[in-house]
Symmetry: C2
Subunit: 420 residues, 2 copies
């Protein structure tokens, strides 16, 4: 899951721009087309909402509201591949200027419809995406329904995600679709497959196909390994579980032994480089091997850096499917990531060798800073560079101004970015 | 279309390796499992057939024969994304060692089935690809069938492809699917779109959606522009046609004017760089704009170079769909290419500026040499370094030996490679 690029003011509503409110009042006073209804609006909204994708991101949100007529924030986030708080912030701005109203979901106002059709040129309401596979290429045919039922059962046994390890569980459907995708690509039958981290139990879904020669899971979380081990034993699918921190090089017995690698790494460039480098180490030395990579829909510059890093490792993208992976319980983040099939070439080489001590988890690379307001009015920064490291610490020592130990209101949360 | 990496001797059958024939004879003499039925076989076949994808390519072909039970060479080529002559060469080698037989299509022999199941581990016969969209994500809904019918009609009006311009016409279905893909992605409605080359009439399909603000086609082939112009006038879809060689910079009035660029460039890295660079020039200067790129399924190292070149231009791949585009009449070449949606970033910059005089067409970068046999027995080389530049020239002047002007038999075709 992508815990990145969030920079949203929780109080944005309360801090509403006066100019905007004035505009809204003008709108309520008369039905005339206002001159402000031009292309610049979405640019301004994008600035207010601080959205990395700029006005194109705002246009995308407006388009999906137009196409769906009434749509909730989480669904909007899924369709637009933008994080929920970003979508919420844009929607709030669009509400302020009277283009969107909220009635059990975002809807366009009459002005909003005019703007969407006359200024942005929207007119087609239906989705053109294949209703059968939803753009995922593979489908779960009848003979695999049984595996899906099993995966649903096993998904409930997963322990609580360790968010500091960037764990987030994908849906049982996603696990089986990943396995079927590998199967379709010729990367399951007769193959030796290594999973570099597997909080999603994709190894189980792949094992249940009973087609592969060897399935190995390497993970730092023993709780997950124990679960996979138990299910594997119960289902007799012989999954090999290895407790290992991928910051350390792979154990020698896993080097050059696999045909296929699969990973859903921490969603930082360094995290991807590290996990994919270990994947390359695990592959038998030959070209045309596959590495399956799940990764977050990041803002443009991050996507560029990500793909440059992939090229630098001598890998290329054979196929890339946005929104392939859907995650459970990821309430405030866009709960979908892409699946890419990478392939090796004669030039493939890991970019990280040996032990790695750098930052790989999103919590390390882009830590969160929270701003609280005490009842006395004092603003207190908590987290990196703040007066207190955690909210618990603040509550222990109390407000530096009035010494109150409770009643702090979260007014802003920011992700900080260090260049990786 | 990919006219690249073909280097196949048409007479390979006649030159069959004696060792192979001996093995086949041994096989016919007894039913014992031969020690030769091991993993090395596919490695050896890949060397004999000179396939860039190595044993993975041979495995892919065997797997599709296994899954489809009986399959023709062209269909095999489509499914495996390998050129027809490569598939034919591999199949011929597999026939020689007795794994494949040919009865109205390639089939596995009993030995072949054993090898596929016991050595390679194949067992699942069905395709898992979505039967509705065939993995293309979008479908042609009922309301667009009318456009498809029109495209079928207009496709018949296209002039004969100029192969030296790397022209090859995609099917009417492909044209409309491309337009629908852009529509789904929010890149048709209200957009200004530039087509950098359009021998496929995708501009017409897009125009027939009647959703875009401006559609401009830039092409060097006046025949195509005339046709697009006529259809555009008849359909009242106002497509702007501009006769221009993209080796020259875009005319000033096209610079920074478009939201979206679409190109199916010559299938050389330089060709891609040039056409995409012109596309970047045409876009309004902003991030998050889309460039749609169709390109051949190239061997691994070429794919790597291609994507490194894309990264270097500050573009990233948002989505990549193999086999999206299907071409007509491409008899001996793999008649399918991928469609990638590229997106711009703050770092996007053309890699080619100003007039470009380098080689961009496959015929320039990897020219073809054809060997013909005259009825008198004389072998005549046609093409680069040959006695004649083209077959037309040979037919005009006649055989250097006997002066016959017809009845030349093509016995070999080779692609020569110059480093780009």
């Amino acid at each position: 899951m992508n815990y990145n690029y969030i920079n949203v003011t929780f109080e944005s509503k309360a801090l509403a721009n006066k100019q905007y409110i004035r505009r809204k009042e003008n709108r309520n006073c008369g039905g005339k087309t206002r001159t402000s209804l031009n292309k610049d609006i979405i640019e301004k909204v994008s600035q207010k909402a601080r959205i990395s994708e700029g006005k194109e991101g705002v246009r995308r949100i407006l388009r999906e509201i137009y196409r769906n007529e009434q749509i909730g924030t989480k669904e909007l986030s899924y369709i637009t591949r933008l994080p929920v708080p970003v979508v919420a912030a844009v929607r709030a701005e669009l509400e302020k200027i009277g283009l969107v109203s909220r009635k059990g979901g975002a809807m366009l106002t009459e002005d909003g419809k005019k703007y969407a059709e006359n200024v942005l040129g929207f007119r087609i309401k239906k989705s053109l995406i294949c209703p059968l596979c939803l753009g995922r290429k593979v489908i779960i045919k009848d003979e695999f329904q049984e595996i899906l039922e099993k995966m649903k059962k096993y998904a409930n046994l997963r322990p609580k995600p360790y968010t500091w390890l960037d764990q987030a569980f994908c849906t049982p459907e996603t696990s089986i679709l990943r396995a079927l995708f590998m199967l379709e690509e010729g990367d399951a039958e007769g193959r030796k497959i290594i999973f570099l981290g597997d909080d999603d139990l994709t190894s189980i879904a792949t094992g249940l196909l009973k087609a592969s020669k060897r399935i190995t899971v390497v993970d730092v979380d023993e709780r997950l390994l124990n679960l996979i081990d138990k299910i594997s034993e119960y289902e007799r699918i012989s999954i090999e579980c290895i407790h290992h921190d991928l910051r350390d090089p792979l154990p020698r017995e896993l080097i050059n032994k696999f045909d296929v690698a699969f990973t859903d790494p921490p969603y930082t460039i360094t995290g991807m480089k590290l996990f994919v480098s270990r994947g390359i180490d695990a592959l038998k030395k030959r070209r045309c091997a596959s590495i399956y990579l799940s990764f977050a829909h990041k803002p443009p510059e991050d996507m560029l850096n990500l793909q440059a890093a992939i090229s630098e490792m001598g890998l290329f993208i054979r196929e890339m499917i946005p929104r392939f992976n859907v995650y459970e319980g990821a309430e405030i983040f866009a709960n979908t990531t892409f699946l890419a099939k990478l392939e090796t070439t004669d030039k493939t080489c890991p970019s990280i060798h040996g032990r790695f001590d750098g930052k790989i988890y999103t919590g390390e690379v882009s830590p969160t800073v929270r701003m609280y307001r005490c009842r006395c009015g004092r603003i207190i920064r908590v987290g990196v560079g703040g007066e207190f490291k955690t909210i618990e610490e603040l509550k222990t020592y109390g407000c530096p101004e009035c010494r109150r130990k409770e009643g702090f209101k979260l007014i802003e949360r920011k992700r900080l970015f260090f260049s990786e």
